[in-house]
């Protein structure tokens, strides 16, 4: 399931709703991305996330489908916010639920790595010196690229 929205989300409520009455689920991993002050100068006070709505949905659908093909998941959820967000606000939520933790952990990392390099979102940071667009990080591309090498074996435990 994917949602792209301006509103905040409640991680606990989303997690309970995703588990619901599915008693095959034995492990759930949640990842939350938050607006930080900036690694370089700490001068960021807020940011605005712009996106390409139709393509965002398509890309998020695609990576969620891929994760479900590669790992044995019972349920998954991606929520990504757009619009203006202040320091400490939640940006993105990835929840993966599986019978065993190995699938949930691996799929969670895969989803956030791929989301960062393929979903068409752009961050505009507000700083004392004016607004600046965040540049893409080579480390993110490398993190996503490791998933294209050899398929992970499922670590069911």
């Amino acid at each position: 399931m994917i949602r792209v929205q301006t509103e905040d989300f409640d991680v606990g409520a989303e997690l309970r709703a995703l588990i619901g009455a599915n008693h095959a689920i034995g492990g759930v991993v949640t990842f939350t991305g938050v607006v930080r002050a900036s690694a370089d100068d700490g001068g960021v006070s807020a940011m605005t996330l712009e996106h390409y709505p139709a393509m965002t949905r398509r890309e998020l659908d695609k990576i969620e489908r891929t994760a479900n093909q590669r790992w044995n998941l019972e349920a998954s959820l991606i929520i990504h916010r757009h619009g203006r967000l202040e320091l400490g606000e939640q940006i993105v939520l990835v929840i993966t639920a599986a019978a065993h933790r190995g699938d949930a952990f691996a799929a969670s990392e895969f989803l956030i790595d791929w989301l960062k390099t393929s979903a068409p979102f752009w961050k505009l940071e507000e700083t004392a010196g004016g607004d600046r667009w965040v540049a893409a990080r080579a480390a993110d591309d490398e993190a996503a690229a490791r998933w294209t090498e050899k398929p992970e074996t499922t670590r069911g435990e």
Partner: protein, 83 residues
């Protein structure tokens, strides 16, 4: 053909979206980018460094040699920074 611009490409080009009618010979992503550069000095500036321009054709990532046609929606944007 509809062309969309996002993030700093939109700011530099000075336009969020426009409808263009390039000649029939402009039939690939690479040719279209070269053709768009001629539209205005702002377009030329926005598209000056194609290493930092990503292209989607009808909401799918596209490469330089991929085909484009009159009914396509082309999106031009910087490398993505979500998550």
């Amino acid at each position: 053909m509809k062309v969309l611009y996002f993030a700093w490409l939109r700011e530099r080009a000075g336009v969020a979206h426009e409808t263009v009618s390039p000649p029939a010979a402009i039939n690939t992503v690479a040719k279209l980018l070269d053709w768009l550069k001629q539209r205005s000095p702002r377009h030329a500036e926005a598209l000056a460094d194609l290493r930092v321009v990503r292209v989607a054709v009808n909401e799918e990532y596209a490469m330089a040699e991929d085909a484009v046609g009159p009914n396509d929606e082309i999106a031009l944007f910087p490398p993505v920074t979500g998550g």
